[in-house]
Symmetry: C2
Subunit: 212 residues, 2 copies
DNA sequence: CCTTTATGCGAGTATGGCTCATGTTAACGG
DNA sequence: CCGTTAACATGAGCCATACTCGCATAAAGG
């Protein structure tokens, strides 16, 4: 997959610049939302000339996608970390852990409330060609990546061989989780507790068909 | 709730014009996606001067929201219709029916694949004020309206009194359904059959906690 | 028929995404 | 140390798009 960046920053200063731009992008997203976000303002706040901005990011969406990717990596990082720390007995604990971590990031990570892992844009850059049929794997959807990673973690945890349905089930579970949690945060900026609980329930019930 | 329209079309011609604009908006969404959609082009195709366009729609988002609302009404219309026709015995039949109808609209209604009931835009017009806490009812989310309507239908069907948890459960179910079906159509323009089946399963398992 | 009020209209304005010609620094050879 | 060349940095400006505003036209009212 071609990197989301036009040019990968090589020197120290460039790396910091890109990081700063992503930081400011995140803050601005919280302040004004996606539509009102302007590349000029991001560049201005990050103290990077607009021309340089476009050396690294293909366009406005590219910026947001890059942020989403950073979020994704941070999330996976945290989850694997916490799994290593608190050893869990049952797969439901993993569900809880992942959801709790997601919720925590919604609360603390700037911009995460607006973009989390991406897919903010309806069909970025026009809809897929008519008749195109993707496989689940090739659907370059960040939630699929999350599902993939969680599957690996789940399997490692209870070293039971996966049924072929498990892949699909996990993608479905992640997608549903994402949606319900978004709702929980739309209703309450801190995340409606009842809805979060309900989300866990939803996933547990569903996955019980595929896991012991 | 203030109408999505700036001015409600009074005369016949105006009504037709608004309808035409929504039609063209839907077609264009399928062709180029949300970001590339321009108000000028919508106006041009609908043969309506741009000034008149803005008499009816507050802005580009207003146009899309109006379309989403029309979709919502069409959906509820169809569902109630079909419930009346084929009398169903169990609440799971209702789940199937609603999902099938949604899928059908995804396939046949122009623009429905891109916007369905709305909420396409991440926090339209900036994020909610910090500290704002909405109730579920006041969350002006179209999916909540769907949930509300479906609850009424469900109750009528099996005239069992609703537990207080049912409201929330249905909202959660609708939200999750929406997300999984969107995935199903991202993977396959005609809607991945397996994912659609999986979606039904997800909802059935979950709602089984709240319905007999 | 005139006045008043609503509606129709599109040239024009403001603004934002993005480019590209020019300036600046680094890399390297002799 | 200088000259040459390539890579990178910069921001004025281009173009497209969302949206307005003042005038034109039609309808309503008396």
């Amino acid at each position: 997959m071609t990197s989301t960046l036009r040019r990968r920053p090589a020197q120290r200063r460039s790396v910091e610049r890109v990081e700063r731009m992503l930081d400011e992008c995140a803050l601005l997203l919280d302040e004004v939302g996606y539509e009102a976000l302007t590349t000029k303002e991001v560049a201005r706040r990050a103290e990077v000339p607009i021309g340089t901005f476009y050396q690294f990011f293909r366009d406005k969406q590219g910026l947001v996608r890059a942020l989403a990717l950073r979020n994704l990596e941070a999330f996976l990082q945290r989850v694997t970390q916490r799994i290593a720390e608190a050893d869990l007995g049952h797969w439901t604990d993993l569900v809880d852990l992942a959801i709790d971590e997601f919720v925590d990031m919604k609360r603390t990570t700037p911009g995460f409330g607006v973009v989390d892992f991406g897919e903010v844009l309806p069909t970025p850059g026009g809809p897929p060609l008519e008749g195109t049929k993707r496989t689940l794997d090739s659907a370059l959807d960040n939630n699929v990546i999350v599902a993939d990673r969680l599957r690996a973690l789940t399997l490692a945890l209870l070293h039971a061989p996966a049924g072929p349905g498990l892949d699909r089930a996990l993608v479905v579970a992640v997608e549903a989780t994402d949606a319900v949690l978004k709702l929980a945060f739309r209703v309450d900026p801190d995340g409606d507790a009842d809805l979060i609980a309900e989300c866990k329930q939803l996933v547990r019930r569903y996955l019980a068909d595929h896991l012991p």
